[in-house]
């Protein structure tokens, strides 16, 4: 099933990987292990090596902000990922059919990704402002009772973050999936046409499975967005009202820098990574199991 490669080529492949492996080991593995080590110390502004046992972890899990952050991350992921994937795939499928002005449309869908959230977050804040945002426009159009106060409502504010994040990421997911769709074999489309399979069925059962790796790429990119979620929150709500829209990355960065609690921040980062592992490892095992160990 796999071509036996001459050992010289495989040696070349191995040699190619050596510098990468060196960087990955020293920065990522080294950095993560170092941070994990720091999480067992009393480090405040600068890392130090005074052992603190599990103190940082105990403090972390007693911290209401951290609990809210984790809850928000889960809620955010469970809405943001499926919605963005659905919208992104629909756009890619429509564009892939060949439309006039593809270039312009693709750029329009993608442009939010180019903008720094420092300011687009502010624009979203304005749009969603209960007094002079969209609600005000609706009122002036004659809908006198229009009101939209999610952004200042502690129970609903996280959904405004999701709206802005979907707006930001949908275009990126679209281009990743579009690149995948562009790799789909012509023969497959021909076969679908000849068989007369309905569009939705063809997409769901034939096309989606055949671009599985692109979807996996999009899922990883979206997961990265979820775990690293920071700028949107800072720009739109600053984590508020109160601590209602706090997220793990904001918790970590606040404590790492402004609050000079490097030990606590490292404990939070380590915990976050363990959570990622707890989700990723079963998925990887499942995937390898299904493939039967093949590539």
């Amino acid at each position: 099933m796999f071509v036996r490669s001459p050992s010289s080529s495989r040696l070349q492949a191995t040699l190619t990987l050596v510098p990468v492996a060196f960087v990955v080991l020293s920065v990522y593995v080294g950095g993560v292990l170092w941070a994990a080590g720091i999480s067992f110390t009393r480090s405040s502004m600068l890392p130090n090596y005074r052992f603190a046992g599990l103190t940082q972890y105990i403090n972390l899990f007693a911290n209401a902000r951290w609990q809210v952050s984790l809850g928000n991350m889960v809620l955010f992921a469970s809405i943001f990922i499926p919605v963005t994937l659905l919208i992104g795939y629909s756009m890619a499928a429509m564009i892939n059919r060949g439309v006039r002005g593809e270039n312009a449309l693709r750029t329009i869908y993608l442009y939010p990704f180019a903008m720094s959230f420092i300011v687009t977050g502010l624009v979203w804040r304005w749009l969603l402002d209960p007094n002079f945002g969209i609600a005000d426009v609706a009122r002036k159009l004659g809908f006198e009772n229009a009101s939209f106060d999610w952004i200042v409502n502690a129970d609903m504010a996280i959904f405004t973050i999701i709206i802005a994040a979907v707006w930001h990421s949908a275009g990126l997911v679209m281009v990743v999936l579009l690149a995948g769709l562009r790799g789909v074999d012509d023969d497959l489309w021909k076969a679908i046409r000849i068989e007369g399979i309905p569009a939705w069925k063809a997409h769901l059962y034939i096309i989606v499975p055949s671009i599985g790796t692109s979807i996996a790429t999009a899922l990883v990119l979206m997961s990265l967005t979820v775990v690293r979620l920071f700028d949107v929150v800072v720009a739109m709500t600053g984590g508020g009202p109160g601590i209602a829209t706090d997220v793990p990355a904001k918790f970590i960065i606040d404590h790492m820098f402004e609050r000079q609690q490097v030990g606590l921040a490292s404990a939070a980062a380590t915990t976050l990574l363990l959570l990622v592992l707890a989700v990723a490892v079963p998925l990887l095992i499942l995937k390898n199991h299904r493939k039967g160990g093949a590539r």
Binding site: V20, Y28, G31, A35, Y109, V119, G183, K190
Partner: protein, 295 residues
């Protein structure tokens, strides 16, 4: 690719009515996507007085370019009143080599990981990918120590090095997954024809990967051009990117905020990524699948 096939494929799932629907949907999504951009553009033209008193979506009473000019040329950040243009060259100096190197490193790594059964390749890839989930702010301190030990701290090479390291997981993921979707027959055929390690990569794989190179380029240009903290910390005062000025203009803690200048500054800062998005169009030509082998 056989160009004669393209129109046939495009019509495969299309009926006249559904085409109208597709365009309608695409346009509606485009309008929603453009709404925040519209607000930014009209705000950039309004006077502060008009911003305070008017509605969000109204057109400016007069179109003046003075806020754009101020953002580019004379907005003050600290002592220097030279606007965004100061960091523009630095952003270029940082972004171009970082993106090229990141894509080159990621593509080669992805190649070595996907077609060659290198020992521990999957372990390496998994570790790298999971490392990508670690909040990178936590890695800044170890990276400061590493770069200062090897004498790269506060140099252009240092900034580029850190960017490439941070880009590696995602770019490798993109290429590895893309290569994984390429039929193994192609690889076998090339091997039979006697293509060596690098020849297969450069003359067969790379031409097939243009859509993915475009996606990787889009991603990394955006990340690196919009990066703030890496440039600030590792570049020092001589290589501070444009986003430092943008942030200074936008985030003056104790100042009166000039929203029109902020919006203009954000739009000006995004011009380069936007240009990249638009010109990436011709890279999004349909990729080649098994057709390449047969044709």
């Amino acid at each position: 690719m056989n160009p004669a096939n393209a129109p046939a494929r495009r019509n495969a799932l299309a009926a006249p009515l559904s085409r109208v629907l597709v365009y309608l949907l695409l346009i509606v999504i485009a309008i929603v996507a453009l709404l925040p951009l519209y607000v930014m553009i009209v705000t950039a033209f309004k006077s502060m007085e008009e911003i305070r008193s008017g509605t969000l979506l109204s057109l400016p009473r007069a179109f003046g370019f003075e806020h754009w000019w101020k953002a580019w040329n004379s907005a003050c950040t600290g002592l220097r009143c030279e606007g965004l243009k100061v960091g523009f060259v630095n952003s270029f100096l940082i972004t171009v080599p970082s993106v090229v190197l990141a894509i080159a490193a990621g593509a080669v790594t992805g190649y070595a990981l996907s077609f060659w059964r290198v020992r521990f390749a999957n372990v390496l890839f998994t570790v790298m990918l999971i490392g990508g989930f670690f909040p990178y702010q936590v890695l800044i301190y170890p990276l400061v120590r590493i770069t200062s030990t090897v004498g790269l701290f506060n140099s252009l090479a240092g900034v580029i090095f850190v960017h490439v390291v941070f880009a590696l997981p995602v770019v490798t993921l993109l290429f590895r997954n893309y290569f994984a979707s390429i039929p193994i027959d192609l690889f076998k055929a090339a091997r039979v024809d006697g293509a060596g390690y690098w020849r297969f990569f450069f003359s067969i794989l790379l031409p097939m990967s243009v859509p993915m190179i475009a996606v990787a380029g889009i991603l990394q240009v955006t990340f690196i051009w919009n990066d703030y903290i890496v440039g600030l910390v590792f570049g020092g005062i001589n290589y501070a990117p444009m986003t430092v000025q943008l942030n200074n203009i936008v985030h003056s803690t104790y100042g009166e905020r000039e929203y029109n200048v902020e919006m203009a500054a954000t739009l000006l800062t995004s011009i380069i990524p936007l240009l990249v998005y638009f010109t990436s169009g011709r890279w999004f030509v349909r990729g080649v699948a098994s057709g390449a082998v047969k044709g």
